[in-house]
């Protein structure tokens, strides 16, 4: 009984040993593949725009997976390969005057008390569009939500046309032509 158990245990260990070696080989192959894929991804990000390149890189990496199991392993046995370091910080896309203008007008058109046909860049809220000061407060709050920064009350009560709002946001966010 004990002999069989010990034999089983030793057998299982031997079996585990070869299994572990297989696993190790597979893991190393996968690491090499992922490293090469990262290098490929970084190369493509270097050259093309990031958004459009993402599906392309995926396609390329999967094709490499299907085609060349052996090629990354061949590379690792060959000369040393480079690992590219890359730092990518997250940030919003840079603002331009046109984008600010478009976003301001878009938010204003979504407001139900304004008719979109009458809306111009220079239309005054109180005189041309017939809005209230409470409406103007709501509009400024919508602009704050859209652009993500607070407009203090002292400045907010002076902004009466979309053009002034665009100018103010461009001043605050350092947007030049």
């Amino acid at each position: 009984m004990e002999d069989s158990v010990s034999r089983m245990r030793s057998g299982s260990l031997v079996h585990c040993g070869s299994g572990l070696r297989n696993m190790a080989a597979r893991i190393i192959a996968r690491c090499v593949r992922s490293l090469n894929h990262r290098a490929v991804c970084l190369n493509s990000i270097n050259t093309a725009a990031t958004l459009t390149a993402a599906p392309l890189t995926h396609g390329r990496t999967f094709s490499q997976l299907t085609n060349g199991h052996k090629s990354p392993l061949a590379q690792i046995s060959g000369s040393s390969f480079q690992v590219f370091q890359w730092r990518q910080y997250g940030d919003l896309p840079p603002l331009t005057l046109e984008t600010i203008h478009d976003r301001v007008l878009y938010v204003l058109k979504l407001y139900d008390k304004i008719t979109p046909e009458k809306l111009q860049a220079t239309s005054h809220f109180m005189k041309d569009l017939g809005l209230d000061s409470l409406d103007q407060v709501e509009i400024i709050m919508a602009m704050e939500d859209e652009f993500g920064f607070e407009i203090p009350d002292a400045d907010a009560e002076k902004l009466m046309t979309p053009q002034e709002i665009v100018q103010y946001i461009a001043d605050k966010k350092d947007v030049y032509e």
Partner: protein
């Protein structure tokens, strides 16, 4: 705003804005917030045609007390607003522009166009400085300036006073 005191109109608008922001902090779902915002707007609208200032001031005082009682303990603040997470975060990187004069010539040689233009700007500043000071001396009252707002340039071909400080102010997000 020129005077030191807020008008009744301004106080009402500020109460409206901060109560809307606190309702937004309480009602996190947008449709619920919209509903309560419309209710608040209706409450403000039914009393907005009040002509009696005494009654209006009493209503404003009651509104402020109601706001204080119902405010959110941790209202949503924008990152750049005071109390927000990135308020004055980049102040330490905003160096004044006179530091550029202290660069080593080898560093300045890396940007020759910029520093050439900078010399012209500095000459312009030296020329216009006396006129700026003169304009400010004429325009400020005897007690001292009433507010921080600077007057615009009055004459043709003149630059507004203290324009150098404004033009060479650091960026909002330094590189």
């Amino acid at each position: 705003m020129a005077a030191a005191y807020l008008t009744h109109h301004q106080k009402v608008l500020r109460l409206y804005k901060k109560s809307l922001r606190h309702i937004e902090s309480w009602c996190i779902f947008r449709d619920k917030y919209r509903f309560y915002a419309c209710l608040l707007r209706a409450r403000f609208d039914e009393n907005k045609h009040e002509k009696d200032m005494m009654k209006a001031t009493m209503m404003l005082k009651a509104g402020e007390e109601e706001f204080w009682a119902n405010q959110h303990p941790q209202p949503y603040l924008f990152p750049d607003s005071p109390g927000g997470t990135s308020y004055e975060r980049y102040e330490c990187y905003k160096a004044p522009e006179w530091c550029l004069d202290h660069w080593h010539p080898s560093e300045k040689a890396m940007y020759p166009d910029y520093f050439a233009k900078r010399e012209q700007w500095k000459k312009l500043r030296v020329q216009s400085w006396d006129r700026e000071v003169q304009q400010l001396q004429i325009e400020t009252p005897a007690d001292g300036p009433k507010s921080e707002a600077l007057p615009p340039a009055r004459k043709e071909g003149d630059l507004p006073p203290l324009w150098w400080q404004f033009v060479t102010r650091p960026r909002e997000r330094p590189m």
